[in-house]
């Protein structure tokens, strides 16, 4: 019997839909037969079963071995570390956010963590109580506060609408996730210059014990991470096709490669263009080259300057390298 791989995915919350979209863009469409059902499948890899869970439970399920793999926010992985929890890919490129400390805007004397440390001492000295900090991330918050010299504080565990805590009066300061900072500003809170605890985004996690001791699973896992790596790699590039004019094809190739943005992964490809009557038109060539997404326009400009025209660019869906770097790292992790 073939071993099956259980992939836990967020069922609701900010990461739920983006995760489905991300996997679809990787060529890993998730099939969910019924919106109310908590299971699904990945038609591209038949050995995979999909389990939909609250995002925090995704971390728990992978930690305890109920699921082999999962996608969750890196913030939650750091908040709930486990000996069996492996981070296989820490930056899937979506769900970006920061876990940070925010204080009331009215605290004009507080700009950084050193200020907050002093204010925490003021609370003890003048108000005979600890400064109260509302957060869901009690572990990361406690570690960070201690590392900043803030030792006397009371963490108020809260779920949702944490930004309102100082206004409602049950906390003085908050530690929470933010994507744009808009909600913080709307609640008259401000961030501190050195108050970012972690920068997080969606990450791929796995259960160390299961992956180490069930090598049969690794073939399917490899397929999964190959798709992800190739798709993430592909997002970084465009493929350019242009008609290039020049008498000497080698000289033309040198001109193209002389600019780093049009050097391509291995170098430019040039092919002859044939006239409509089938005769070779020695002055025209078709260039095919891969360029980095953020260098598309400089690349087009350079090609124009050396006689290029009718340039077309298409996004690349996959770039498969000689091996999947994520899979290689995974093997190293489970071998140690």
């Amino acid at each position: 019997m073939t071993d099956r791989v259980t992939l836990a995915l967020p069922s609701k919350g900010a990461l739920a839909d983006p995760t489905i979209d991300f996997l679809r863009d990787c060529g890993l469409r998730v099939h969910k037969p019924n919106p109310r059902q908590y299971t699904g499948s990945l038609p591209a890899i038949p050995e995979f079963d999909v389990l939909f869970q609250r995002v925090r439970d995704v971390v728990y399920k992978v930690s305890d071995g109920t699921a082999h793999l999962g996608i969750a926010g890196y913030d939650l992985v750091r908040e709930h570390p486990h000996d069996d929890l492996l981070v296989i890919h820490d930056s899937l490129g979506y769900g970006h956010c920061q876990l940070l400390v925010a204080v009331p805007e009215a605290w004009v004397d507080v700009q950084n963590m050193a200020d907050l440390m002093e204010v925490s001492l003021d609370f003890r000295e003048y108000k005979q109580r600890n400064i109260r900090i509302a957060t869901t991330y009690t572990n990361l918050a406690r570690q960070f506060l201690h590392s900043q010299g803030i030792h006397h504080f009371t963490l108020v565990r809260a779920e949702g609408a944490i930004e309102a805590a100082p206004t409602l009066g049950y906390a003085d300061v908050i530690i929470d996730l933010t994507q744009t900072g808009t909600t913080l500003r709307e609640n008259h809170l401000k961030t501190l210059t050195d108050g970012v605890i972690i920068e997080a985004q969606a990450c791929l996690i796995g259960n160390y014990r299961l992956l180490k001791h069930k090598p049969n699973l690794l073939r399917a896992v490899r397929q999964f991470v190959e798709y992800i790596d190739a798709a993430l790699q592909g997002k970084q590039y465009y493929q350019i096709t242009a008609n290039m004019q020049g008498d000497d094809v080698e000289q033309l190739a040198q001109q193209i490669a002389s600019n780093p943005v049009t050097r391509g992964l291995q170098g430019p490809t040039l092919a002859p263009i044939y006239a409509p009557n089938g005769e070779s038109n020695k002055r025209w060539h078709t260039l095919t080259i891969i360029v980095e997404s953020d260098k598309l326009l400089p690349a087009v400009e350079h090609l124009r300057s050396i006689g290029g025209t009718q340039t077309s660019a298409i996004p690349i869906r996959y770039v498969f390298m000689e091996e999947s770097p994520t899979y290689r790292r995974l093997l190293q992790q489970i071998e140690t």
């Binding site: 009215a106 605290w107 004009v108 050193a114 009690t138 010299g149 030792h151 006397h152 100082p166 206004t167």
Partner: protein, 467 residues
């Protein structure tokens, strides 16, 4: 209990028992303290290094910690009893969370002693000598007792009239000062306690700017705050006055910067002293104003405590006075000391902590001094035989002789002869082995004993055992 599993438990137990015996000779009573206690107890005066490794967790909304040491719990226990002077000793696991470094050694064994309710050089000397003699008796040969004085250092620093947070900052950076110099500490100070993003603060002409800053009136600041409150913004548990007070405090600290530089000059000289007692005390005396009677008394007491060590048989050639010696706990108020093996291993240390009792609920100031050893470090420096109990004699047991074997083993044990029962196939040939034949006769070391000759057997085994 030890981080290193390679050390036999018997060796550890022997060392612990020997040290406990030594402490008992000084009148220290063995006390148990809880492994788990409210984290606040340890946070009260722990240094940052300790707090970063404090093993904490939450239970029913309360933050708890695994004890990182014994002193704070001893201080709390003292407040819960009536005796004026107590001598207590402790032994057990202490914990630190090294998970950030991917270490899994959370637990180590420590032995400590606390003398609470007694002040003066006699108490200081007693604890220091107990720390040193406790290990000398166990065979420690090459060691150094390094002694500093947090109380005198703080007193001398007080003349610079720094606010408490600046003073705390400087004291916690004294090692950085000795190792990396004044400018690095000053930079760190600007970064941590002043607003380093304001270029004028770090600029050499900061003085010129001070007058300008001073012109920023309290009313201006209050105006800003008033504006804030009119916009109906949250204040998060602080009032306008709280914020205004702190703004003023920050500006006052700006004016203190020259005092900070002067204090660093003093601490830099202070940090250079590390010498045998006579030489070091002369250097320290030269840094004390003759009119400063309190500093003079602190130094005299310190000298007396060190002189008293001679009476305890401690050679002062093995004592180094290093006045800036700082330990990882902020509760020390007087002498502090550390015991080092000559290979640099830190065996233990302690000091005087006269404020801690009141901070954990006691009334008034209670003198207290104590120390602790790190047993794993001590074991790496002391030659102790790993096996002290005699090897047991084996009696080979099978289904036919179980009754006789058990009865014989019991009889031998009554005569203090260690015995283990083993099935034939696992008995080691290296050890004395007793075989009971099918007639019930006993064979040991090639001699046969009948059931009437047990006493002869016992006598023979006792001779072997004692040899």
């Amino acid at each position: 209990m030890l981080s290193s599993l390679s050390i036999p438990t018997e060796t550890v137990n022997n060392l612990v028992a020997a040290i406990q015996h030594e402490m008992a000779l000084y009148g220290y009573q063995l006390i148990e303290t809880p492994i788990i206690a409210p984290a606040d107890l340890f946070l009260t005066r722990a240094g940052d290094q300790i707090i970063n490794k404090l093993f904490t967790f939450e239970r029913h909304g309360q933050q708890l910690a695994l004890r990182p040491e014994f002193t704070a719990e001893a201080a709390y226990r003292y407040t819960q009893q009536d005796a004026a002077i107590v001598r207590w000793q402790f032994a057990g696991a202490i914990f630190e969370d090294n998970s950030q470094n991917f270490q899994r050694d959370y637990q180590r064994l420590s032995i400590g002693a606390e003398l609470i309710g007694m002040s003066g050089p006699a108490a200081d000397a007693e604890i220091m000598s107990l720390a040193a003699c406790g290990l000398i008796k166990q065979g420690l040969q090459h060691w150094t007792l390094v002694i500093g004085h947090t109380g005198l250092m703080r007193h001398l620093l007080a003349r610079f009239r720094l606010d408490t947070r600046t003073e705390r900052f400087l004291l916690s950076h004294i090692n950085m000062l000795c190792e990396q110099g004044k400018s690095v500490v000053l930079e760190a100070f600007d970064r941590a306690l002043l607003d380093s993003r304001t270029p004028h603060l770090a600029a050499p002409n900061a003085d010129a700017h001070l007058s300008e800053v001073a012109e920023v009136s309290t009313y201006d600041m209050l105006g800003i705050l008033l504006d804030v409150s009119q916009r109906n913004m949250t204040m998060g548990g602080r009032t306008q006055q709280d914020i205004a007070r702190r703004l003023l405090q920050k500006r006052r600290r700006l004016a203190e910067r020259q005092q900070v530089i002067d204090a660093l000059d003093f601490l830099e000289m202070w940090g250079q002293i590390s010498a045998p007692p006579d030489q070091a005390f002369d250097s320290i005396a030269s840094m004390i104003d003759p009119d400063d009677t309190l500093a003079g008394k602190l130094l005299d007491d310190w000298r007396s405590a060190v002189q008293l060590l001679i009476a305890y048989g401690i050679d002062l050639d093995q004592v180094v006075i290093r006045p800036h010696l700082s330990r990882n706990w902020d509760y020390y108020t007087g002498i502090v000391f550390e015991l080092h093996a000559d290979n640099g291993i830190h065996l233990g240390g302690g000091g005087r902590y006269d404020e801690l009792i009141s901070l954990v609920g006691g009334e008034g100031t209670t003198p207290a001094v104590g120390f602790a050893y790190y047993v794993d470090q001590v074991l790496s420096c002391i030659p102790i035989s790993s096996i002290t109990h005699p090897e047991p004699i084996f009696i080979i047991v099978n289904q036919d002789n179980q009754q006789i074997a058990a009865a014989l083993a019991h009889t031998l044990r009554l005569h203090e002869i260690p015995v283990s029962l083993y099935p034939h196939e696992t008995a080691s040939s290296d050890q004395t082995c007793i075989i009971i034949d099918k007639h019930g006769d006993i064979h040991a070391d090639g001699v046969r004993y009948t059931s009437e000759e047990i006493d002869t057997l016992i006598a023979a085994l006792q001779r072997v055992h004692h040899d």
